[in-house]
């Protein structure tokens, strides 16, 4: 394995080990996502059933909000333990550290989604599993896009005083294309019969977004983390 891959894997393994021991971020993120879903459900329920397609929107909003929290918490952990400087001082390519962190966050969010999606399908009688592979593709591509931008900004904000409010301000405008694609794709899958062509098209757009923004993040991580 190349140096880059090894470093990324080590960073990922470190985060995963800490998380698996305590399950702190995963459980709190999941619970928060569930609360989001319930709050939105009360807003959109009409005569006992959910407004059509609202379940797609609710799912992705819950992912976005919970994802922002998870990003904040992950880097707060680094800041608290003062390991940020250690990471940056390590004789490793900075981009590898970014990739390791990104993979950690993606795995965290996908673990939360694995539990969230069946719950949403159950609560809103939404036929989310009609095309499970396409749904999985949407979720993975969307999560990677959201996490790519989020990891970069959260890492930059670690030493900022105003990080709590700045992260949403920075993150949401730039990742709303991901949310739009995710919601429209999921809504296409919820229609009967599920519209595979449209879902596939939105997955394609999400993949392009992922490639462009991961590349951008890799490119800018080095100068941004140098102080």
């Amino acid at each position: 394995m190349t140096m880059f891959g090894r470093v990324a894997f080590l960073v990922l393994r470190k985060d995963a080990t800490i998380e698996i021991k305590s399950l702190e971020i995963l459980s709190t993120t999941l619970f928060f996502a569930l609360s989001c879903v319930l709050v939105f459900a009360f807003a959109f329920v009409k005569e006992g059933s959910i407004v059509a397609d609202a379940s797609a929107g609710i799912l992705w909003i819950a992912i976005a909000f919970a994802g922002t929290l998870a990003l904040g918490r992950t880097f707060e952990r680094e800041r608290y333990a003062e390991t940020v400087r250690a990471l940056l001082l390590a004789p490793a390519p900075r981009a590898a550290i970014y990739v390791g962190k990104l993979l950690g966050i993606v795995l965290l969010l996908i673990s939360a989604e694995v539990m969230l999606v069946p719950l949403v399908a159950l609560l809103f009688s939404a036929s989310l599993f009609a095309r499970p592979l396409l749904l999985a593709g949407l979720l993975v591509a969307g999560t990677v896009g959201f996490a790519a931008v989020g990891t970069l900004f959260a890492a930059m904000l670690v030493r900022s005083r105003t990080r709590d409010i700045m992260l949403p301000i920075l993150l949401y405008p730039i990742t709303v294309p991901v949310i739009i694609a995710g919601v429209r794709g999921t809504a296409a899958l919820l229609s009967s019969p599920p519209d595979e062509a449209i879902a596939g098209m939105w997955i394609g757009l999400l993949l392009c977004f992922d490639v462009v923004f991961v590349t951008l993040a890799l490119w800018t991580f080095e100068p941004l983390m140098t102080e």
């Binding site: 394609g204 490639v211 462009v212 590349t215 951008l216 490119w219």
Partner: protein
């Protein structure tokens, strides 16, 4: 490294265009928005106030912005002159 990244970026944009191609050829039918061709006569708004408001806004926004730049510049330059007077011989420009 940078060249590779640029190539990846270019490839992504190219694939974006390619994916848009088949989508353009067969536009998927999305029916959320249907063009409104004619408004019912009862809903006819007079156009002139809207047009005037639009142009007036552009003019006013431009002038307001120029005024804020002028005001801020005035404050900064006043401070610069004050500092230079205070510094006197010790400062060099």
């Amino acid at each position: 490294m940078i060249t590779r990244l640029c190539l990846v970026l270019f490839g992504a944009l190219f694939s974006l265009l390619l994916s848009a191609g088949p989508a353009l050829a067969q536009p998927p039918q999305q029916n959320e928005f249907v063009p409104i061709n004619t408004l019912p006569p009862s809903d006819q708004l007079p156009s002139a106030p809207l047009l005037v408001a639009a142009y007036a806004f552009v003019w006013l926004a431009t002038m307001f912005y120029l005024w804020t730049i002028w005001r801020r510049l005035g404050k900064v330059e006043a401070e610069i002159h004050a500092l230079e007077r205070r510094g006197g011989a010790g400062l060099h420009r």
